[in-house]
Symmetry: C2
Subunit: 506 residues, 2 copies
C-alpha cells in the first residue's frame, strides 16, 4: 500500500514528530465501507466533528486509525486483518477495523456509552427517576463497555508493537478504559486521551455505580496526558480525582500522581478543518441550497440553528424563547424566520424519541399560534443534510447555539467561518466554545428563556457596525485555530514530555 | 414577660456567650398560634429538624426568634408587634412574627424557595425540560424572594438595634439574601448563616439565572461566618465563590475575601435533641403504637423508612430494590415487611404530586406481585404521625435512608438513638450523615438498585454480633453530638472571631 510522503499537508507537524508514528483509536472511523454492484469495496466518508478533525490529523501524520467494524462486510474485513489505505484514490493513512461482536457492541454503545455516560457528562439525567442501575447495567458494563475497551486495547497494542514508540491517541467517552488495558499489554507507547464532551463535577460523576466511576478515573489516569476542551472541564476532572479517588492533585502543575506516574491534565479546544469547510461551502450542492434559501426568504431576518436532535442541545427552550420574542414584539411577525435544521439521532433511546416529539409539538404549536397565510415562523427540517446546513450558516442573521452543556460545539465555529451577513452568534455559557468566543457573541444562560428571548431581540436590532465588529472578531478567533493546530498543541506537549522524561531518565 | 434565668439548660453556652444576645431568623417558627373556643390564643409546637434544633437553642440561650406569620391571626399579631414568650407555660425565649403579605409569601415560598432553590440544591431538575426561567420567575425573584428577605432583614435589624451587639443566626435557603440587607441597615450585629440543605457544585448552581446566582453568593458573603452540614458542602460553596463570583478562596483557612471582609466557611453537622426524643419515645402514644406494631408483625423482620414524600428522598428506588430482593430470595416472602411511614409534603408542586403517585403505584404493584393472603410485602402510610414513626424506629431491623442528596438526614440519627433491636442502618453516600455514620452503616449509591438490594440482603442476614457492634458504634457517634453541641461549636467560632477582631482592632 502506497502512502504519500509525510507532512505535505502540515510541515510543522513532521518537524515536531520526527519519525514518531501515531495511532488513533476511536469508536467511529473515517468512513463506511460497502460493496458496489460489481462487488468491489468502496467507501463513504463519515461526518461529525471528531471524524472531521481526526481525518485532517491522520492525513497530515500518516497515522494508523483503529475503529469499529460496523457492518458484516466490515467485520469480515476486520477478521482478515486488512489494513486499508485511505482515502482510496490517494492513500495518506491506514485504517484498521476492530471486530467487536454485535452483542458486545450493543451493550457498550447502546446501554453504556450513549445513554449512561453521555447523560452523566451532560448533566441531563432526571435524578428523581433516572438512572437506575440494575443487574443489567452492571452486566452491560462488564460484558459491553469493559469487553469493547479490551478489544480496542488489544488492537492498539498489536499495532503498537509493530511500530517504534508510537503515540496512541484515544478518543472520547467510548474509550475511558482502553489506556489501562493497553498498559497491561505493552509499556512502549505514549498514551494520550482526549475527551470531546464535557467532564462533570464530582457530585454528578458520583451518580455512576461506585465501581464504574473508579474504573473510569483509573482508566483515564493510565494515560500520560489527558486532554479536555476547556480549562473548566479539565478542572472538573481534577476535582473528580481528588474527591472520588482521593488522589492528591498538583493544582499549579495541573497533574495527578497515580501509581508512581505523573499524569498531566491539559486543555486543547478543538476547532474545524477550514480548508475542507471552505471547499464544501463553495460546492455546487451548497450553492443550489443557497439560491433556494434566498429565494424563499426574501427580506426576512434568519435565525438559524443546526444540531443533532439531542436533548443536550436545548432545542425546545430555543423555540420557546422565540415564541416569547414574537409575542412581545408582534411587529417582527412576517419579518423573521427560524430555520431549525436538525439531524435525527439516537432514536432508539427513549429520552431522544420523547425529545423529538417535544420538538415537533412545540414547532407545530408556535407555527399555529403565530403563523399567517404567507408566513411560517419556524421551518423545521429533520434530515441529515450537511450542505443545506452550510447554506443556512452562510446566510444567518442570528445563529442560535444554546446547549445545556456541550464539550465545544463546532457549529459555533463553523457558522462565523462561513457566514456572509455579519450574523450574530448567540452562545450558551455552558458550551466549551464560550471561553474562546464569549467576548464577541451574546452569551446566554441556556435555562433562562427570558435571557434568550432578550438576546434574540438584541441581536435582531443590533446596529450593523456592531454586527460587523463582532463578526470580524469571531472570524479572527476561529481562523487563528484549526484542527491541525489543535493537534499541534497536543503533539508539542507529548514530545516535550517525552524529551523531559528522556533527559530525566524516567 | 418573664423569662427564666439564662443558661439553666446549658451552662456551657452561657459561659461562652457572656451577655451576648442571640437573634434567630428562620422561615418557619417554633409554633403555630390559634384561638381556642374561648378566643384565647394558644399554640402548637411545630416539627421538623430545623425547628427541633433551634427550639433547644432558643431555650438554652433565651434568644429572640423571628419567623413568618403564617395565618391571619398570626399576621394580626405581627402587625401589633407583640413579642410572644415561649413556651407559654414557662417562657424561655421570645418569638417575633414577621408580616409578609400573602402574595409576596407565595412567590417567595412556592415559586422560588421550594421548587427552584430546593431542586437546585438537591440536583433534582430534569435539565432537558426543567427549569425554564421566564418573566414570571424573574418577577417572583424580585417581588417574592428579595421582598421577603428584605422584610426579614428589617425585622432582624429592628430587633438588633434594641440589643447590644447581638449575634444574628440566619437559617437555611429561604434567607440567602437577608444578611446583605441587614448589613445595609446596621453594621452592629455578628451575621451568621447556616444552610441545612446540600450546597451544589458550580455547574449545577450556574443553572440559576445569572443575576440570581450572583445575588445568592453575594448575599451569603455578607455574613461573617457561613455554616454547612459537611465539609463536602462547605467545599462546594467555596468552589462556587471561585467559579461563579471570581473571588479568591483561601483553601487553607477556608475563607473568602469579599468587600474587604474575610468570610469564614465552616462545617457544623446538625444533630438531634436527645432529651426531647427520649421523652417522646417513652410517651404513652408511642407505646400504644409499639404494641400494635409488634402484634401485627410477629416474627417478621422489619425494614423501615420514614420521610417526607419528597422526590429527593428516593423512595421509589428503595421499593424497587426491595422488589429485587424478594424476587431474588423468595424464601424471604412472609418473613420480612417494609414499613414506609411517609409524610405528605408540598403537594402543590407538580413534581411532588407526580412522585406521590409513583410511590403509590410502585407499592401497589409490588404488593400485588409478591403478596399472599396473609402477607403484604409493603405497608405504606401517608400521614404525618411522628409518634408512629418513633415507634417504628424503635423496632426496625433495617432502617433505609437512601436519599439522592440530603443536607444531613436526621432520621439516620434518630433511628440509632431509639432503636431497641440493634438494627442495621443502610445509608446513602450522599446524605450529609454519611460522613459521621458511614463507618458503622452500610453505605449505598442511591442510584444503584443492585447495590441497595445487596445491602438489604446483607443487612437481613447479618450475624447478631456484627449488628450489635455496628449499632453500638452508631449510638455512640450520635450520642456524642446533640443540637446544643451543634450550637456550641457555632458560638465558639463566632466568639473566637469576635475576640480576634477586637484584638486586631478590626
Amino acid at each position: 500500500m502506497r502512502i504519500n510522503g509525510r507532512g505535505q499537508k502540515a510541515p510543522n507537524l513532521t518537524k515536531l514528530l520526527g519519525n514518531k508514528p501515531i495511532i488513533i483509536v476511536s469508536n467511529r472511523g473515517p468512513a463506511e465501507f460497502m460493496q458496489d454492484e460489481t462487488g468491489d469495496i468502496v467507501s463513504r466518508r463519515g461526518g461529525g466533528g471528531l471524524v472531521t478533525a481526526m481525518t485532517a490529523i491522520s492525513e497530515a501524520t500518516h497515522a494508523t486509525w483503529i475503529s469499529t467494524a460496523m457492518t458484516d462486510l466490515e467485520r469480515s474485513m476486520a477478521k482478515k486483518g486488512v489494513l486499508i489505505g485511505f482515502p482510496e484514490e490517494n492513500p495518506l493513512y491506514n485504517v484498521r477495523l476492530v471486530d467487536i461482536p454485535k452483542n458486545v457492541y450493543d451493550l457498550y454503545y447502546n446501554t453504556i456509552s450513549n445513554p449512561l455516560l453521555w447523560f452523566i457528562h451532560h448533566y441531563i439525567w432526571d435524578l428523581c427517576n433516572t438512572p437506575s442501575f440494575t443487574e443489567e447495567t452492571h452486566r452491560a458494563w462488564e460484558d459491553g463497555y469493559i469487553a469493547a475497551n479490551k478489544l480496542f486495547a488489544e488492537a492498539a497494542a498489536r499495532e503498537s508493537l509493530k511500530l517504534k514508540n508510537p503515540i496512541i491517541m484515544l478518543q472520547d467517552y467510548h474509550l475511558f478504559l482502553a489506556a489501562s488495558y493497553i498498559r497491561e499489554l505493552t509499556n512502549e507507547p505514549f498514551l494520550f486521551h482526549f475527551t470531546h464532551i464535557p467532564w462533570p463535577e464530582p457530585d454528578y460523576m458520583s451518580i455512576l455505580p461506585t465501581k464504574v466511576r473508579l474504573q473510569v478515573l483509573k482508566g483515564m489516569l493510565a494515560n500520560d496526558i489527558v486532554g479536555f476542551q476547556s480549562r473548566h472541564y479539565a478542572g472538573n476532572f481534577l476535582l473528580c480525582c481528588e474527591a472520588l479517588l482521593g488522589t492528591q492533585v498538583n493544582w499549579r502543575k495541573k497533574s495527578v500522581m497515580w501509581q508512581k506516574r505523573e499524569v498531566y491534565v491539559r486543555t486543547y479546544p478543538i476547532s474545524i478543518d477550514h480548508e475542507n469547510l471552505h471547499k464544501i461551502s463553495e460546492s455546487e450542492k451548497v450553492q443550489k441550497y443557497e439560491r433556494l434559501l434566498l429565494d424563499e426568504n426574501k427580506g426576512m431576518s434568519l435565525v438559524v440553528r443546526t444540531d443533532r436532535s439531542d436533548p443536550s442541545k436545548n432545542i425546545v427552550r430555543g423555540f420557546i424563547a422565540y415564541d416569547v420574542l414574537l409575542t412581545r414584539h408582534p411587529k417582527l411577525k412576517g419579518k423573521v424566520k427560524f430555520l431549525a435544521l436538525l439531524y435525527p439521532t439516537r432514536e432508539s433511546i427513549k429520552e431522544y424519541k420523547k425529545y423529538r416529539r417535544e420538538i415537533e409539538t412545540t414547532v407545530k404549536d408556535i407555527n399555529e399560534r403565530h403563523g399567517t397565510e404567507d408566513w411560517q415562523p419556524i421551518h423545521l427540517r429533520m434530515k441529515d443534510d450537511y450542505p443545506e446546513s452550510v447554506a443556512a450558516l452562510k446566510h444567518y442573521d442570528i445563529l442560535l447555539v444554546n446547549p445545556i452543556f456541550d464539550g465545544m460545539n463546532l457549529v459555533a465555529k463553523e457558522g462565523p467561518a462561513v457566514n456572509r451577513k455579519d450574523g450574530v452568534l448567540i452562545l450558551s455559557e455552558n458550551a466549551g466554545a464560550s471561553s474562546e468566543l464569549g467576548n464577541s457573541s451574546i452569551i446566554v444562560n441556556p435555562f433562562d428563556i427570558e435571557d434568550t428571548a432578550s438576546a434574540l431581540y438584541r441581536a435582531l436590532t443590533m446596529p450593523m457596525h456592531e454586527r460587523q465588529a463582532r463578526a470580524a472578531n469571531l472570524r479572527e478567533v476561529v481562523e487563528q485555530n484549526d484542527s491541525l493546530k489543535w493537534l499541534h498543541y497536543q503533539l508539542k506537549d507529548i514530545m516535550g514530555l517525552e524529551r523531559r522524561r528522556m533527559l530525566e531518565g524516567v
